[in-house]
Symmetry: C2
Subunit: 316 residues, 2 copies
Amino acid sequence: MPSTTDPSRINLYINEVAPRDGFQNEAKFIDTDDKIALIDRLSNCGFAKIEVTSFTSPRAIPALRDAEAVMHRIRRHPDVLYTVLVPNARGAERALACQIDEANLVMSLSKSHNRANLRMGREQSFQQLQEVVAVLKRTPVLINVSLSTTFGCPMLGDIADDEIWRWMDRFAAIGVHGFTLCDTTGMAFPSQVQRICEGARTRFGEQQLTLHFHNTRGMALANTLAAINAGVVRFDAALGGLGGCPYAPGASGNVCTEDMIHMLDLMGYRTGIDLTAVLQAACLLPAMIGHEVPGQVLKAGRRLDLHPQPEQLQSA
Amino acid sequence: MPSTTDPSRINLYINEVAPRDGFQNEAKFIDTDDKIALIDRLSNCGFAKIEVTSFTSPRAIPALRDAEAVMHRIRRHPDVLYTVLVPNARGAERALACQIDEANLVMSLSKSHNRANLRMGREQSFQQLQEVVAVLKRTPVLINVSLSTTFGCPMLGDIADDEIWRWMDRFAAIGVHGFTLCDTTGMAFPSQVQRICEGARTRFGEQQLTLHFHNTRGMALANTLAAINAGVVRFDAALGGLGGCPYAPGASGNVCTEDMIHMLDLMGYRTGIDLTAVLQAACLLPAMIGHEVPGQVLKAGRRLDLHPQPEQLQSA
């Protein structure tokens, strides 16, 4: 807990990733109009950033085959950065045609996870992302690199800290603007998070640092506080806690936006986010995607959403 | 996060409450033999304490109407304290006949919650518990008082800190040995937990202090770390995360034992608990109670329970 720092002086910046990271994992195709309506709602919630979609091949990720339509038809809020996943130079060109603010480039620090997820070796991924950087560097578009399995790989186990710094160094050298350290399958734990975040902040002070947690083993909110303790102020989160993980069927997905904001608000951190509006948006998810979501505040209500006293006791 | 204290020097003491707090909330009656078999298993997991049952009226809580049979037939481990819920002097006599190690006395700090839960005013509860203390003081049995809604009442909202200290003072004055501060409906948040735990430790250094969290709004593990930060070393937890809350249908229950131990182990705290044995016990719950449980490590596996690489990639 930040006992020495007043939370009310700490501005936190939340990146809502449900439209990309969440919807990508849904079996059912989410209607383009529904996606746009949801993103437009999210644009008015106070998020610093929204990850809108992915410019992957529509064959690889059919769930997001409407990337262009979504990007062209959302109503942009001037205070929100609109970011998209860009896997390769072709995707970069498609994304640029849609006036993105930021491109999010993804590779895994684990050899095995990169192969399982992206069907190529890490070196090949780096080359491909280098091409993306080359395309984007001619534009004002910001470049963020998301490093999957930073806190552990479900096949190989722990990633050595030096391996994290080595890949961050390579991306820093080609001029990316930010890093997202991703706990892709919920293996991070608080003391590890604090150590790695402190290391990353010390080594890469030039780049913006974002943390991306999954709640697979229930630690996402504890990890969030550990990262804040280490000076991190930027977080990914997904409405409803969307975004599953194939290695943990039935387990929770991304850290849930409304659960995270609910806790941070109570602690006095400044997120700039309208929790009521976020909860109203989250309420729409089950009907939109056809199943319940893992988010807990949606079920339980906010801490001070009080209940009436049982009737027979009111007169007692 | 305890950045100045080495976790490996901190012994934590876990009280497993599923047999009482969990089973009490199940619609289906859990077979007496199943209860005993589970408690016998739990006795070999390294818990400091197990809350076995409740000596409430069998009409009030039929789920635990087999309190005597369970207490008489479990095989006690010499390192485990066996505690039971005792609501009144009659229950105390019944419990004493079963050679309990500790009695857990419960009242709510919220007037409305006490009425809703115990059907009486707080003063009447205190008088009744005072009678229990009078009965138990003639014996070597330890006396713990669990204070419900310490971190907020679902009907009245926040409880003033002074109200917490006032009731703790009254119980300390009649000689109880320990207090459990209960977050009965998951309203606690980390900075509040740290403040109240620091206050309680400062004021009531003579009594053992235990924290009882619910994961209703996802904050149970973050709250656990906040309490440890404030010097707390004793925690209630329920196998599988059993123990619902009528004010949050569909929400999680008590903090899940195996999820809590999984995190604390990773961080290097000494819990003395065999997580493998706990997970084996938790595995039995769904068949025993007839439904899935909220625990996440049970679904996702431990952090380093690795998965094989996809076959087509092994040769790649």
